[in-house]
């Protein structure tokens, strides 16, 4: 890796970070370090932290999208491995098949038994093509709903990890009712009698995200995004070319900061310095803390209060003018 000229991440804005990393690695690899080398290393490491902090504090919305899509970013499966004690996968929608783009199953988190529902993008090419890069078909949404209903029956809280470019646009998906599947999930999740926590861990791609996105608490990772349409799609329609994705990304106001401001998310989970892809363990630990704290909070609520709170949470979203009626 150290022999490449560009960042291993493929992110152009990470170049200054990468350059420092290369220099540090070279010095580290040199045998017999003099006191002078050690000093140099210390100051380079300090510089690296500063540069990383600077680069990541100034990310543009379009750069944020690149981070959210980073190939080394932790996925649902990584969090299941790192934050949970156990995951018992449950497959299939009992109607059509098993969609690999959404994982569902029992999981143990600290003392809590929960149902996890999460988009999975896949790390290798083989995995990625098996799950259509995290783009679910109707059977994925139906599988999610089936497992969530079962969870409600046995009073298991539901944790949803959202990470999708969008629901799959294809002939089979339309034939099997993609619209109906997504609509039904929102409809049923809004009245599902068990706590639901949703976390956008990477890409919150439109209806494909919202199909597992109705809950009592909605959180987002610092560099994730959640949008009505992909910046490329928006640019294609409104600027007539996907090449204007950067402008569309600015216009859509979909960063974690914007979402907090608009009241769409309750919490922004800070990422490790330089993004979640740099430190899976630390990110998983933070996520775990948040989930445990939130589960504890929600477990105390009587179900009527929980459901009323969930309804009102979405009910109040929207910005319009209301002129008095004369």
């Amino acid at each position: 890796m150290a022999t490449q000229d560009s960042p291993a991440s493929g992110l152009a804005f990470e170049q200054p970070i990468y350059d420092l990393e290369v220099r540090i690695r070279e010095l580290e690899q040199a045998g017999n370090k003099s006191a002078q080398t050690e000093d140099q290393l210390r100051s380079l490491r300090r510089e690296l932290a500063e540069v990383t902090r600077k680069v990541y504090s100034e990310l543009s919305p379009w750069e944020m999208v690149q981070v959210a899509r980073h190939k080394d970013r932790p996925y649902t499966r990584d969090y299941l491995n790192l934050a949970f004690e156990e995951f018992v996968e449950l497959y299939g929608d009992r109607r059509f098949g098993d969609d690999r783009a959404i994982l569902t199953g029992f999981a143990k988190l600290d003392q809590y038994k929960v149902m996890v529902v999460g988009h999975q993008k896949g790390r290798t090419y083989k995995e990625r093509s098996a799950c259509y890069f995290g783009c679910a078909h109707p059977e994925g949404y139906r599988k999610a709903l089936l497992k969530m209903r079962m969870a409600a029956k046995y009073k298991l809280p539901v944790i949803c990890f959202i990470d999708t470019p969008g629901a799959y646009p294809g002939v089979g998906a339309e034939e099997r009712g993609q619209s109906q599947a997504i609509a039904e999930n929102m409809y049923e999740m809004s009245r599902l009698d068990t706590p639901i926590i949703c976390v956008v861990i990477g890409e919150g791609g439109s209806g494909g995200a919202l199909g597992i996105g109705v809950g009592d608490r909605v959180a987002i990772l610092e560099h994730a995004y959640y949008s009505v349409i992909s910046p490329e799609g928006c640019a294609g329609i409104l600027w007539k070319s996907g090449a204007h994705a950067e402008k569309a990304a600015e216009a859509l106001r979909f960063t974690s900061k914007d979402l907090l401001e608009f009241g769409i998310v309750d919490t922004v989970l800070e990422e490790p310095l330089g993004g979640a892809h740099r430190d899976h363990h630390r990110m998983a630990a933070r996520l775990k803390m948040f989930l445990i704290k939130t589960l504890r909070e929600l477990a105390q609520k009587p179900s009527a209060e929980l459901l009323e709170g969930r309804y009102q949470k979405f009910r109040q979203i929207g910005v319009f003018l209301e002129t008095p009626v004369v």
């Binding site: 294809g170 608009f262 769409i264």
Partner: protein
């Protein structure tokens, strides 16, 4: 969720009218501009009196079509109708009372593409005479009181932003408390409105949640799909009816045909994403021609004992 791509698609059965841009679904999508040249009136044909039917290519009297609730006398092609025309067609005469007309759209994102959203809103309001893409209210159908909402595909593609979401939710909540049957007629090619970003996306959840409460209270929701019903509108309230009707040959789907074609790179099957396709695959209960819509709604309300 915004799904405007299908506008540009050849597969879209868009209404093509001669010299009557206001009757045609006058899309604002930039990509559809190329087809405007085809809509110019032929020499010698007086503007506004005649229409060319996109279904059978016949040139027909506008009057003749209007008498048939804006369908083609030759081939029964269903032309665009505005939300207010639709309300006249479905409700008993003089019974409509509009609700929440005082809600007005604004520009929470300060969104600007090639045009500022704030300016686009004003332009659309002037062009269509609507304040936003949905009209809601109460009225009678064959002497039965109902709550009714209609989206108008002429206003920014009938897309759902904050005002459409809020008007629909207030409609649904009122139908719940007043124990009224609920009818929502969708004509929305644009899905969730991009210009209001995530706020538009969340209207899908908000309206769906209101419908779930209405359902839990025993409500009867009749959803009517008209051309086009796509994206975030199809993937929320439009698909949640206890009974779902569709007008013949309407374009109905989640992703636009253009997006799908670009993703999978194969030719789309004939009749893909039409009302008939949805019936075949089990997602629409009945195809109802416009002339029968009112009586079919009344009959359904009857059957459900309301």
């Amino acid at each position: 969720m915004a799904s405007s791509e299908q506008l540009a698609s050849d597969a879209t059965p868009v209404t093509e009218t001669v010299g009557a841009p206001n009757l045609a679904s006058p899309s604002q999508a930039p990509m559809s501009e190329g087809s405007n040249s085809k809509r110019r009136p032929k020499r010698g044909v007086p503007e506004g009196l005649w229409l060319r039917c996109p279904g059978c290519a016949a040139v027909i009297f506008r009057n003749e079509s209007e008498k048939r609730l804006n369908t083609c006398p030759e081939c029964d092609h269903h032309f665009y109708v505005s939300a207010s025309q639709r309300i006249q067609q479905v409700l008993d005469e003089g019974t409509f009372e509009e609700w929440d007309a005082h809600l007005m759209p604004t520009d929470p994102l300060h969104f600007k593409d090639q045009k500022a959203y704030a300016e686009r809103l004003v332009a659309e309001q002037q062009r269509t005479g609507l304040s936003d893409a949905a009209i809601t209210g109460g009225g009678m159908i064959r002497a039965r009181r109902v709550a009714i909402g209609v989206t108008d595909s002429a206003f920014i593609m009938g897309s759902m932003g904050s005002v459409v979401g809020e008007r629909l939710v207030r409609l649904i909540e009122r139908a719940t408390t007043e124990h009224l049957p609920l009818i929502i007629i969708s004509g929305s090619g644009g899905g969730a409105r991009m210009h209001e970003g995530i706020l538009s996306l969340m209207q899908m959840a908000k309206v769906s949640a209101a419908l779930a409460r209405y359902d839990s209270a025993g409500g009867l929701f009749i959803s009517v799909l008209t051309n086009p019903t796509m994206g975030g509108v199809a993937a929320s309230f439009a698909s949640l009816g206890d009974v779902i009707f569709a007008e013949p040959k309407a374009l109905i789907g989640f992703a636009g045909p253009r997006t799908i074609k670009a993703t999978i790179r194969i030719e789309l099957p004939k009749g893909f994403q039409t009302s008939e396709f949805l019936v075949e695959h089990g997602f629409v209960d009945r195809i109802v021609p416009r002339a029968k819509l009112k009586s079919e709604i009344a009959r359904t309300i009857d059957y459900c004992g309301w």
